[in-house]
């Protein structure tokens, strides 16, 4: 049976998954009947624990994985119907940001950002102008001659975002883009992604295990568990009235708004778990 689609915001659909299943050899069902729609201009978060199927879902959207069944549409085009050659123009509309940045260590910052432009066939002068403009947008003008290892983690992720944006994609896919960063740097990168969405109109699909990221950036959220979307909706409504136990646990991890009741009642209702057998950890 086709799962009900997860509404994706007010804009025209840019990404659509229709009853998508992805089964790996050995029978592991990484994505199990997921239907969701991401509207143009939306920041859509997919949150879940490790192994929930988030990364596979993202790889399905950029065509790195093919669904076992169901269909994935990007900008109205069914990726399954396109061959490798047909996927190339679709992939040019998709930028990708990675947790570990995935920069070329042997290339300068400018060289990293130039790379996709040269692949796309821009001449040297036009590519350089575009790359420098993009570096300026992410706050790294003047850093073009430096190498990734000379940069902080936050700066490296800015280079990663610049590289993803420099071909002016419609969609940005973010794979745990802030998970390797400290809280302050995470805030700076989230603020940059917010600018990418608002000022450039780029639709963002991000996956994360941190509900704080969803709270700080997303318009809509889907919660995944064991390959399925167990809950989805507008971010405030999901935070205010979570219906699924997994969602409620993620919300508690981001709000910390109730006290730890373990010392008095022997059980905490606000979400902290047992630190050790027979004992309770204090709430954060």
């Amino acid at each position: 049976m086709t799962a009900p689609a997860t509404p994706g915001g007010p804009g025209q659909p840019v990404i659509e998954l229709r009853d998508v299943r992805k089964e790996f050899p050995g029978g592991a069902m990484a994505v199990d009947g997921v239907s969701l729609t991401v509207g143009a201009g939306t920041v859509f978060g997919v949150v879940g624990h490790s192994g929930a199927g988030k990364s596979t879902l993202l790889r399905l959207v950029n065509g790195l994985e093919e669904p076992t069944s169901g269909s994935v549409l990007v900008d109205g085009q069914d990726l399954s119907a396109l061959g490798e050659r047909g996927l190339r123009p679709v992939r040019r509309e998709i930028g990708m940001v990675f947790q570990q940045f995935n920069l070329f260590r042997s290339r300068t910052v400018l060289g990293n950002v130039l790379y996709p432009l040269r692949l796309a066939g821009l001449d040297r002068a036009a590519a350089r102008a575009r790359a420098e403009e993009t570096l300026d947008f992410v706050g790294l003008s003047g850093h073009g001659g430096r190498y990734p290892e000379q940069l902080s983690g936050g700066q490296r992720q800015r280079v990663g975002i610049a590289r993803a944006l420099t071909t002016r994609p419609k969609v940005l896919l973010c794979d745990e883009a802030t998970s390797a960063l400290d809280p302050q740097t995470t805030g700076e990168v989230l603020a940059l992604l917010r600018r990418v969405n608002r000022e450039l109109g780029v639709t963002i699909l991000l996956i994360t295990h941190e509900m704080e990221v969803v709270r700080g950036l997303c318009d809509r959220v889907a919660v995944m568990e064991e390959g399925k979307v167990v809950e989805s909706g507008e971010v405030y409504e999901v935070f205010a009235r979570p219906r699924h136990a997994t969602t409620a646990a993620f919300v508690r991890s981001a709000l910390h708004s109730a006290p730890c009741t373990a010392p008095r009642t022997g059980r905490c209702w606000s979400g902290c778990g047992p630190a050790t057998r027979g004992g309770w950890s204090p709430c954060r």
């Binding site: 971010v235 009235r241 709000l255 708004s257 109730a258 006290p259 009741t261 059980r267 209702w269």
Partner: protein, 91 residues
């Protein structure tokens, strides 16, 4: 008590307390912003006669998802109302 934008529970609090002659103290509070709207919960210790405390707790529960541990409590005991489950606040 949950603090949710547009939810009526905070409006119901003062009349319930006044109506039943129950006093309160803040035990815990955590209210932040999500997408520019307030969200969180506050935990109150209700102080008063057992029946009155239970009535206030029941009144709050009827308004929204507020839950309270209004067990049989002596006049100087407390019930704790939070957003996430029924629990005894007796001490």
């Amino acid at each position: 008590m949950p603090v949710i934008d547009g939810a009526p529970v905070m409006d119901a609090l003062a009349p319930l307390l006044r109506g039943h002659g129950v006093d309160f103290a803040f035990v815990h509070g955590g209210v932040g912003e999500v997408r520019g709207r307030p969200l969180g919960s506050v935990t109150l210790e209700l102080r008063g006669e057992e029946a009155a405390v239970e009535a206030v707790a029941a009144g709050l529960a009827s308004v929204t998802g507020t839950t309270a541990g209004a067990a049989a409590v002596p006049a100087n005991a407390t019930a704790t109302a939070t957003a996430s489950g029924v629990k005894a606040g007796v001490r």
